[in-house]
Symmetry: C2
DNA sequence: TGATATAGTTGCGGGGTGCAAGCAAGTATT
DNA sequence: AATACTTGCTTGCACCCCGCAACTATATCA
């Protein structure tokens, strides 16, 4: 049996961790996926479905459905994009903002409980490394996006 | 809007990262969940379904199905547990071991590519922190003691 | 032996996702 | 302007992953 490489341990840790997080993010009485959309939307401001989908690395159709669900329960609203009639700009309703705030509070509390014994330094370090990891993996599966405005020439 | 708390960033990073990992673990032509079972099994040696399920924090039924699937494609085999006729001991077949090795190789290569610029120290640090995080969250949702849960409902 | 517990499987339902097809609205070509 | 292509989004469909509840078969205990 091969001694597990550090990369493997990393991956296994991620997978198990995620299952935890997934179960936990059902908080606020909102499905994890919907909560994720709400969160993303709360961070990025009024955007189109396509942009949201791209940001979350999900299929447009998936996000479309989530958005519809959130709209139906009054957490998200659509406004017509003045520049393009087929597009819609998504934003949180006041209720949505409130719900998001609650959700984040709960989540924060949970993480704080979990990492109660940690030093601020450790927390920051983990966040930093994780963020770096996200970018690293992103650039693996999207060819690095060196200059994201190479549209000017032709 | 208040600058996102580090805990939030942490969580978001986890979620996005996981989607990446999930997609990546489809490698080797094996469904991610099956690959996970294969991996776990490869690490823990011959075990029962229930033990595997517990280790992976999944329902026994879920693991049971995955194991059946793996058995059907010849990657896993069952042997009767001499101590208990209802139980079965799961182990990898030679083919399964080979498949796992391939899978781990691919995964390792991917992680190595992604973290090519990292120092070994950073990698180790992340793995360590992540592991700690897993344990921290585990002790939040399983209060360290297996028994004193709420088992008496009616 | 009969009551209860345990290992595992199966039926069922539900959530999450992607792909392909379709619809509506812009853009370009002639 | 009319036609053809493109783009933003939604819908139909299929598939995976999962947990709960019910069931079978064995094990254990009174």
């Amino acid at each position: 049996m091969p001694a597990a490489a550090p990369e493997d341990e990393l991956h296994r840790a991620f997978v198990r961790l995620f299952r935890r997080l997934k179960r936990m993010s059902t908080m606020g009485g909102l499905d994890p996926a919907l909560a994720a959309v709400l969160h993303e939307l709360g961070c990025t401001g009024p955007v189109r479905v396509s942009v949201l989908a791209d940001a979350m690395r999900l299929d447009q159709s998936t996000v479309s459905r989530h958005v519809s669900a959130l709209e139906q329960v009054g957490l998200v609203q659509r406004s017509d994009d003045p520049d393009d009639r087929r597009a819609a700009l998504l934003s949180l309703t006041p209720t949505g903002r409130g719900r998001l705030a609650t959700l984040l509070d709960e989540r924060r509390a949970l993480f704080r409980t979990a990492t109660a014994e940690w030093s601020d330094d450790d927390r920051a370090q983990l966040a930093g490394l994780l963020d770096r990891m996200v970018r690293a993996l992103d650039s693996v599966d999207r060819p690095t996006i060196p200059h994201h405005e190479m549209l000017e020439s032709s």
